[in-house]
Symmetry: C2
Subunit: 405 residues, 2 copies
């Protein structure tokens, strides 16, 4: 059961983006597992990809096609099979699916970006993907974001989609996006898969900056289990079919960037809230750091620690494990006497030990909630960073002992 | 249930080392939880300690006393309370126990090294420790290593002790050691606690080198859960009461160092075999690396991955998770096409994907064993490293959700 994911409401269609889903019977015949996204001519696309050295074949091909600079006319996404750890044959299969979709849409194979998520090291059943393309194309429509979010799910228990409308210089701008991911979630890139579109007109250079800024503060700030997937990708599309445009030196940039980070942040948090076996959602706020980087280090030392995560699961205010995790963040000159630790608004540790006013009953109450905030004041400077994570439960072990990713 | 820990046999007493254990009723009144070790005058002592910034009070005091250079006449170890996250008060309490033992033994407080393991952030019950000292001292004898190993246990299910006899230049030399630790186990120093003694005569400088070499290849090569404790320490004592001596430039150095690494290696492996919730013991051999360091990186990327560890638990030959972990080892220029992956002696992946001769039934058989060897050939050079780990089971979550460390 996901932890307090807000209901999906009002997914604004994006002019210039059509989405179509179909059943390709890749793994689960019961649901749609293939998604095509068609982009209007002239749409700009930017993306960030996994840095895992064993990156999946579709990641290699998508990156190559994006770099070719011929423009992007379509995305093709399948769930159920990751086409990862499949060597040269996997690359060939990913390209075959691009070519087939390109033929249907009348564009070049290099104008299609492929994405896959699901079981690793199984060959992609190309013939089934190709056979389902006509149904996908027939299903293409602008008002299809929810179906798209459902088609890319794997161990996700709910679809993840977020939308924002904002005004830039008097014109309405829309941002709508979907994401999937529940396990193998750790930064060093995006989440598993996220596709976000806007109808604003944005140059590729500005889009590159937006995608990296937004990723850094959202998808790169979550951890479910500390594992980085072979297939992670976050794609941002700007169709330019709306009236507004975003340039780097205009005042619209900051407004648009903020709205985009709201969308990516909500999607990133939804992934953690739907984390495998999660029963609690934990926000780790680290402040008073010498740099944003060291605040992230502390945040992740907490978010990655199995001992901290099992304590959250048990609603146990095990301050020692939290302090030990902070001490493991590899900040060589950290003065532990200056560190303050809060559970929600409760000061629980300071001066290297338990706070004099510490109240076990209140701390236990804070740990019992489904939403827990851990705040660490490092007392070293003015930088801060927030990281989101979930607890580690029996269910996580069960899901991952049973599901072959 | 620990995984195949060899029975403890023939723990050779070390001339110049007496051990005494008693019940101090720190946490569990049912068993001895206080250990004093008395060293003959002139014994040399070296140690490595946790690098966790929130290191425990006894670690701070032990390091300080060791650095004082006044010689070490005794060690005092308690289980049940870690005296960590206890600020200045914790330091004062650790010193109080040293002073009390020093008075009994007629030595200086600075000649006593304190060690604690158990629950974090609870004040050390100094009065109970001090009250139990006479019983400890009365119990002091050379032939007491097993009782000592039992007295330092926390979540350990079995005591850990290893002994070796070897001959150096015609004279018999003995090495005997004990260790404790089952969770919060990850390198960047020693295991939780290990105390090893020899009757050889070894200078402090040579002892320093021996302790760091042995630690690097044993206690620093194991991971249960990726967490580094606040209390880790590995102490090596050389009484010089035997006939042999070890000098850095003599041929005895290599012989002695090899025997010491056998002892520390067996203790380190015993800790993993007794890892919290462990049902399998996994040896990760990484070879063909450009450096020993990058081989360790790959080994730990595998040993730390919760997804890999749950797959071991499930006996699932999930090669994708293994490849993904290798890809996450942050070796920037790793050519995944050159990597070969073996389960036991079975070649299962090569050229970026599954091996052509892959046989799922055989791979499943390999994963079903209690002892699994993962071998990774990087194809980049001649360096190698071995890391030991265990699987991640329901039981790990249960133990850590219930026990407040």
């Amino acid at each position: 059961m996901p932890v307090n994911i807000p209901p999906i409401a009002d997914l604004a269609p994006i002019a210039g983006i059509e989405l179509g889903a179909a059943r390709a019977h890749i793994r689960n015949p019961e649901r749609k597992d293939l998604l095509a996204i068609r982009l209007a001519e002239g749409a700009q696309v930017a993306g960030v990809f996994t840095r895992n050295r064993f990156c999946a074949a579709p990641v290699t091909v998508a990156r190559r096609h994006l770099d070719a600079g011929l423009g992007v006319r379509a995305l093709l996404v399948n769930s159920g099979c990751a086409n990862a750890g499949t060597g040269e044959d996997g690359i060939a299969r990913a390209i075959q699916t691009c070519t087939a979709l390109a033929e249907h849409l009348g564009c070049l194979s290099q104008q299609v970006l492929p994405f896959s998520t699901g079981v690793i090291m199984e060959p992609l059943p190309v013939e089934r993907v190709i056979a389902a393309l006509p149904a996908c194309i027939q299903n293409l429509k602008e008002d299809n974001w929810l179906a798209a979010a459902e088609a890319i799910m794997t161990t996700d228990t709910v679809p993840k989609a977020v939308s924002r409308r904002l005004r830039l210089d008097g014109a309405e701008v829309r941002i709508t996006g979907i994401a999937k991911g529940a396990g193998m979630i750790h930064p060093r890139m995006a989440t598993m898969l996220a596709f976000i579109a806007t109808d604003a007109s944005v140059s590729r250079a500005v889009l590159d900056r937006l995608v990296s800024d937004a990723c850094r503060r959202s998808f790169n700030r979550v951890s479910v289990d500390g594992d980085t997937s072979t297939n992670d990708a976050f794609i941002l599309m700007a169709t330019g079919c709306g009236e507004a445009s975003v340039t780097e030196d205009g005042p619209e940039y900051a407004i648009f960037a903020r709205a985009l980070i709201e969308v990516t942040g909500e999607l990133a948090q939804a992934i953690v809230r739907d984390g495998e076996g999660a029963t609690k959602f934990i926000t780790v706020e680290v402040e008073g750091g010498g740099s944003e980087g060291e605040c992230e280090q502390v945040g992740f030392a907490i978010a990655r620690s199995p001992l901290v995560k099992t304590a959250f699961f048990a609603s146990d205010p095990n301050l020692g494990r939290l302090l030990a995790a902070i001490g493991n963040a590899e900040i060589e000159d950290l003065d532990v006497a200056s560190v303050q630790l809060y559970l929600n608004e409760l000061l629980v540790a300071e001066a290297g030990g338990r706070s004099p006013g510490y109240d076990e009953a209140k701390a236990r109450e804070a740990m019992a909630g489904q939403e827990i905030k851990v705040r660490v004041a490092l007392g070293r400077g003015g930088a801060s960073a927030t990281v989101w994570t979930c607890d580690l439960s029996y269910e996580y072990v069960k899901i991952n002992a049973e599901y072959r990713t």
